[in-house]
Amino acid sequence: MDNEHFKVTPIKNGTVIDHIPAGNAFRILKIIGIDEDCKSTVSILINVPSRQLGSKDIIKIEDRELDDNELNKIALMASDATINIIRDKNVYEKKKVSLPDELTGIIRCQNTNCISNKKDEKMLPHIIVETRSPLRVKCHYCDRTIINPQDAILF
């Protein structure tokens, strides 16, 4: 087995997340909920030379297609990531992650007195993206700006 082949082993079915800024692969795995209980085969490539980014990380997840909600979370950490959905060894769909205008259930409001943080209400937090760079988001309910939104992501 030559090195080149080892690096780019194609997957038969699943998802390839490409163009992740180097060093962010593990955080993204955490965000999309891939941990020791995950049954899929996951390959992680770190510090791959990239013309676009200098160096980048790549994640390949076999037998699992990420849905849009999971992709939205990725956009919070890696706004330039590209997603390839692979079926039968072919790229079935190629998409850019893009942060939508509103996100439900992904970022928690930091205001402890906000209705969205009351367990009895059995509700999901809902935030509104005000600006993308720098990332500035606010709570849909109480209107407060969320400081360091990356730290408020629900895992």
Partner: protein, 310 residues
């Protein structure tokens, strides 16, 4: 029909200056009705639900008076103990049910963001009557109405705001609204209770807003808006006493004030305005409190699509 027909009123920021102008001019036309000198039935057969999850007697009664004065009726509750929320029902469910019984809902709730949540689940218009430390837009509208009514205009005025500018909910909304109309704002507060930077930033894009000494503020302002400094904001009683004492308005403070200057307060007052100010020509806080009725009449009438002249 106004574009406010069927709209929720959750935050003052939801309203354009045109919306505010409409509410203020309609309020003006309803003063004699609010005083009981003219009868109107614009909202006859309509039902307002007042959902007060925490008590606020003045606000609730002024909404109820407003609805009755326009010929409508009111259902509701004054605290959450008597509702199914105390049995564990979610706010969303309570609101969904109430919206099937009524034509509009007024909500007061201890948690920030609850009015927005209510609006998401109600197919009838929701009016926020205070959600936690967040918004209380009808208070701001009645504050603006008081200023406009007393001066006949909103332009070229200086409004000084005194007290707890950090946590005071009414002063944030008021500052947003004043700056929408380009009204100059003077601020005076204890150093630990200054206006939050995001409010300052917003206001600075629209008007002049500056921290000043209390004496200067009273001399310069056309309106002095006084708010309560709460004991809970201070680590100890002694510090509270000394700070709140230095922001207490007494008759002797007013010697250098402009003769037309008016003093406002969202009430209830504790001791931040001494009672010897009540009989001066400057005191306007009780009149301000009355203006809550015509302003809420105008809001209900516009939102519910009752008659709006011209």
């Amino acid at each position: 029909m106004s574009n406010l027909f069927n709209r929720d009123i959750i935050s003052i920021k939801d309203l354009s200056s045109g919306d505010i102008d409409l509410i203020l001019s309609e309020s003006e036309k309803l003063i004699d009705v609010a005083e009981g000198n003219r009868k109107l039935n614009y909202l006859s057969g309509r039902i307002l639900a007042t959902a007060f999850f925490e008590p606020s007697t003045r606000t609730r009664l002024s909404f109820e008076t407003a609805m009755h004065r326009l010929g409508g009726s009111v259902i509701g509750f004054a605290e959450s103990k008597s509702t199914s929320t105390s049995k564990g029902e979610t706010l969303a469910d309570t609101i969904r049910v109430l919206s099937t019984y009524s034509d509009a809902i007024v909500i007061r709730h201890p948690n920030e963001g609850s009015a927005r949540l209510a609006a998401d689940y109600s197919d009838k218009p929701v009016i926020n009557a205070g959600d936690g430390a967040s918004q209380h837009p009808t208070q701001t509208l009645l504050d603006l109405f008081t200023i406009k009514r007393e001066f006949g205009k909103l332009e070229n005025l200086k409004v000084g705001i005194i007290g707890d500018l950090k946590y005071g909910r009414t002063v944030h909304s008021l500052s947003y609204a004043l700056s929408m109309f380009g009204i100059e704002i003077l601020l005076s507060s204890p150093s630990s209770l200054t206006m939050p930077p995001d409010v300052m930033e917003y206001c600075k894009t629209k008007t002049k807003i500056n921290d000043v000494k209390l004496d200067y503020l009273i001399e310069e302002a056309d309106v002095v808006y006084v708010t309560r400094i709460q004991k809970e904001r201070f680590p100890d009683e002694e510090e509270y006493q000394s700070v709140s004492g230095s922001y207490k308005i007494t008759r002797s403070h007013l010697i250098k004030a402009k003769s037309h200057m008016i003093i406002m307060h969202p009430l209830p007052r504790v001791d931040e305005i001494s009672t010897d100010v009540d009989n001066t020509l400057h005191a306007r806080y009780f009149r301000q409190s009355f203006y809550g009725v015509p302003v809420r009449m105008a809001i209900l009438n516009i939102v519910l699509g009752g008659d709006v002249d011209g």
